[in-house]
Symmetry: C2
Subunit: 112 residues, 2 copies
DNA sequence: TATTTATACCTCGTATAGCAAAGTATACGC
DNA sequence: GCGTATACTTTGCTATACGAGGTATAAATA
């Protein structure tokens, strides 16, 4: 099932923060991790993820460090800052509220 | 708790369809119903709702009829079309998928 | 009667998220 | 040497939601 693009908005930041909270990671890896761990729901394009990472870093929620792994191929590994952890907690709570709000309207009906 | 604006994106259409499925209603009434029924989560502005209703009608998901109630104050009452019911079923399923996907990433942790 | 408040609708400009597409560059297998 | 996978970067596009303003009528109140 292809999800409505708009549905993802606002949650993307949250899932990226959550993924980085579990384990520091770099962009290319994140794209694949998120897709795999969410069973294809969060199949972010690179054009979505990289600008998002820059924004999160500019906001001080994550910090990136250049690493030159095997050979010389550089990659930028991001991890959550303390501020990022606080933000994740907040976003997570907001998400719960959101789910609750939708449930109140949809009211458990299936509409199927 | 003030929700991130972006979080609402994509769900707004769904909750409006769901509200109209329960009971035909007009714009001004919908704004208040949604706010009340969702405990303040879906506090849509009129500048959000009215254009949304026009779009839903243009897509054939809802149909509006002018009614002149008490006195001469006109109001436009919307109800779901058959296509609207099908769309709601689809949106509802997408929402469930979405919630499932986020749960897979956030993994039940509280982050609090 | 005059004024305020509530009802009800309409519209424009702005901010921003996510995406597709294109580009750059290095490492690895064949 | 050549294709593929890795890894990062940037640009332009579309769509959504919102704030702020506007119009107009009915009801309440002073």
């Amino acid at each position: 099932m292809k999800l409505n693009r708009e549905l993802l908005k606002g949650t993307t930041e949250t899932v990226v923060l959550a993924a980085l909270a579990r384990q520091p990671s770099h962009g290319y890896q994140l794209v694949q991790q998120l897709k795999a761990q969410s069973e294809g729901i969060f199949a972010l394009g690179e054009g979505t993820l990289y600008p998002l990472l820059y924004k999160l870093e500019a906001k001080g929620l994550i910090r990136g460090r250049w690493e030159s792994g095997t050979g010389g191929r550089r990659k930028r590994v991001y991890s959550l800052t303390r501020k990022g952890h606080r933000c994740l907690a907040d976003r997570s709570a907001q998400w719960d509220q959101m789910v609750r709000g939708v449930a109140l309207i949809l009211g458990g009906k299936s509409y199927a």
